[in-house]
């Protein structure tokens, strides 16, 4: 039987029209080309790199080490410290984002004059690049002339100017604030969209049943929004775990490694220590951690309620 005939039988068995298959393949080709060349190849190559001992300074003495780079990574205390900082940063940021975005979405869900102004203003943090976001907050946090110091001084909260970013106890929290500020708009919009899809009949029924504002929130809004919450949480968690720009602009991993998170660790390993192999290995560990985290969130939120 010819290849042609076998192909036709296979298509028929899946009830796909040959002309449809052809059209689909034609329409998909550009995307597949782009993704294979520019996304798949680097991913695979990157993994391959992680299996070797590669240094940019000695590219002619590259040796295969298998999982050696991974083992070395897991034994490295700096790595684990970075993991801890990343975890703290992620948890705090995601929590803050979810709380603020929910409050904002609840408000925007109401009809009131000036709402349009508000939702337009909301887009500004989202639109600006992280670089400018970092620069802006760096200026606000500045220990010599920053607005934060100035404001607190004027309000009488502090007696004199303090160090902010330079204070290792505050560094991660301040970076988190800059991150949260820029991520909140998108989260708000996503949550708002979910909220809007809740039929108003449910609220009316709850009112008739005697539920007050808080009860309506707990028994109507929250349950209906569970998938939306989950989506936003997973997305923001992924963004937080891999975030790089602010750590570069604000603190470069410092001071004294206070903000030396996983993404910074990978950068240092790859572009300052020039050890491509271990850098790639850590990157892959991060990727796996991202997978695991998303899965955990799905399971966690899937079981409740």
């Amino acid at each position: 039987m010819s290849v042609h005939a076998v192909g036709r039988r296979w298509l028929a068995r899946h009830s796909v029209a040959p002309s449809d298959q052809r059209s689909a393949m034609l329409l998909l080709t550009p995307m597949l080309l782009v993704l294979f060349a520019v996304a798949v190849f680097p991913v695979l190559y990157s993994f391959w790199t992680s299996l070797f001992d590669i240094h940019l300074t000695r590219m002619n003495s590259v040796s295969f080490v298998g999982l050696g780079n991974y083992v070395q990574t897991f034994r490295d205390p700096i790595f684990w410290a970075a993991v801890e900082r990343t975890a703290w940063f992620t948890v705090v940021s995601v929590l803050a984002i979810m709380v603020i975005a929910t409050l904002m979405a609840l408000m925007l869900n109401q009809e009131f004059r000036g709402r349009r102004i508000l939702s337009t203003a909301l887009l500004i943090p989202w639109a600006i690049p992280y670089v400018v976001d970092g620069l802006m907050w760096k200026w606000i946090y500045d220990s010599g002339y920053g607005a934060l110091n100035g404001l607190l001084l004027q309000l009488g909260v502090i007696g004199q100017y303090m160090v902010w970013l330079g204070d290792t106890h505050k560094t991660l929290a301040l970076i988190s604030n800059a991150f949260v500020w820029k991520e909140v708009p998108l989260a708000t919009i996503l949550l708002l969209v979910t909220m809007k899809s809740i039929p108003s009949d449910l609220y009316a029924a709850a009112r008739v049943d005697g539920a007050n504002l808080w009860s309506r929130f707990v028994h109507v809004t929250l349950p209906a929004m569970r998938p939306g919450f989950m989506l936003v949480m997973i997305y923001e968690a992924m963004m937080a775990v891999r975030h790089f720009d602010l750590f570069f602009i604000l603190t470069e991993g410092g001071p004294a490694d206070a903000s030396h998170v996983l993404s910074w660790h990978i950068y240092v390993e790859t572009f300052r220590n020039l050890s491509f192999g271990t850098g790639a290995a850590v990157a892959y560990v991060l990727a796996l951690a991202t997978f695991a985290m998303s899965y955990a969130i799905i399971r966690l939120l899937g079981k409740r309620l």
Partner: protein, 294 residues
């Protein structure tokens, strides 16, 4: 009734708080860019420009044309300042190219995934989404080596290709859910009326997908404009450096005046903010499948 008054007051208070939270930092950025250095380094700083001055912005323009600026602020202008306007041009070129290529690649793919039943459909959707799960950091090294081998290092071409790969999955995803919300029967009617699949896409679905297309253009433009990591890796000189890179270089230069940095920041955010504000309502419809009547 008092409860509705309470509600109104609460909403008003809430909106003020929200507005402050969202806008205050940016307002301070703007204000700082319009003041002299001495004013903003006062303790506490002068909140409102009094008088406002455009000297920092003038310094930016002057730096790009290579002439020394008038004010005597020259000592406080970073050495890379002259590259800011060229960087604007680079960012624009890259963003425009990525948007165009993105549409050419994403629209057909999204239509096929949404409306055609073909073997490998589920696989192609998962594959496309999976390419974005790996953090960008992990892709930098191979990308770097790849780009270097192609001799494209320090060219806008490298950025265009990279950003294309980054933005296509999300664009396809948005267009896909929008196309799926359009009735299947429209597609059937078009085919019975004599359209091949591709003609149905061009003549029927594309005109109907305008809100989603606008959203895709917007997201793609913003992503390209704001991207930092890959631009950092792939660009070395003003020939290809984009705005985020130049602005970042200012912050690491300790002699820079703050008003200048803030002015640069304002310049950097003008295009994205304008685009976001103008196309505001397409963001929501782009993120969700639109409803089509009729």
């Amino acid at each position: 009734m008092s409860s509705s008054v309470v509600k109104r007051v609460a909403l008003l208070a809430g909106s003020i708080v929200m507005l402050l939270y969202v806008l205050a930092p940016v307002a301070w950025l703007l204000s700082s860019s319009l003041q002299r250095e001495a004013d903003i380094t006062a303790i506490p700083p002068h909140w409102i420009p009094h008088p406002p001055t455009l000297s920092s912005f003038k310094a930016i323009v002057a730096a790009s044309s290579g002439t020394a600026s008038d004010d005597g602020n020259a000592a406080f202008v970073p050495s890379t300042a002259q590259y800011l306007l060229p960087a604007l041009r680079n960012s624009l070129v890259v963003a425009a190219a990525v948007v165009l290529l993105n549409l050419l690649v994403s629209v057909p793919a999204a239509y096929a995934m949404a409306k055609i039943r073909y073997i490998g459909r589920d696989l192609s959707v998962y594959f496309m989404l999976a390419t974005r799960v790996i953090p960008d950091i992990a892709l930098v090294v191979p990308f770097f080596l790849f780009v270097r081998k192609l001799g494209l290092l320090d060219s806008v071409g490298a950025l265009i290709i990279t950003y294309l790969a980054i933005t296509v999955p999300f664009s396809v995803f948005m267009l896909l859910s929008y196309f799926e919300s359009l009735p299947d029967e429209l597609d059937k009617a078009a085919r019975v009326d004599g359209c091949s699949r591709i003609q149905a896409l061009l003549k029927v679905f594309l005109p109907l997908a305008v809100p989603s297309l606008v959203a895709v253009i917007m997201f793609t433009f913003l992503t390209s404009w704001n991207e930092f990591l890959f631009a950092l890796m792939f660009t070395q000189t003003a020939a290809s450096q984009t705005v985020p890179i130049i602005v970042a270089s200012f912050t690491s230069d300790f002699t820079t005046s703050f008003s200048f940095i803030n002015a640069a920041g304002v310049v950097a955010i003008v295009p994205p903010v304008i685009i976001a504000v103008v196309f505001e309502r397409y963001i929501v419809s782009g993120l969700t499948a639109g409803a089509v009547k009729g």
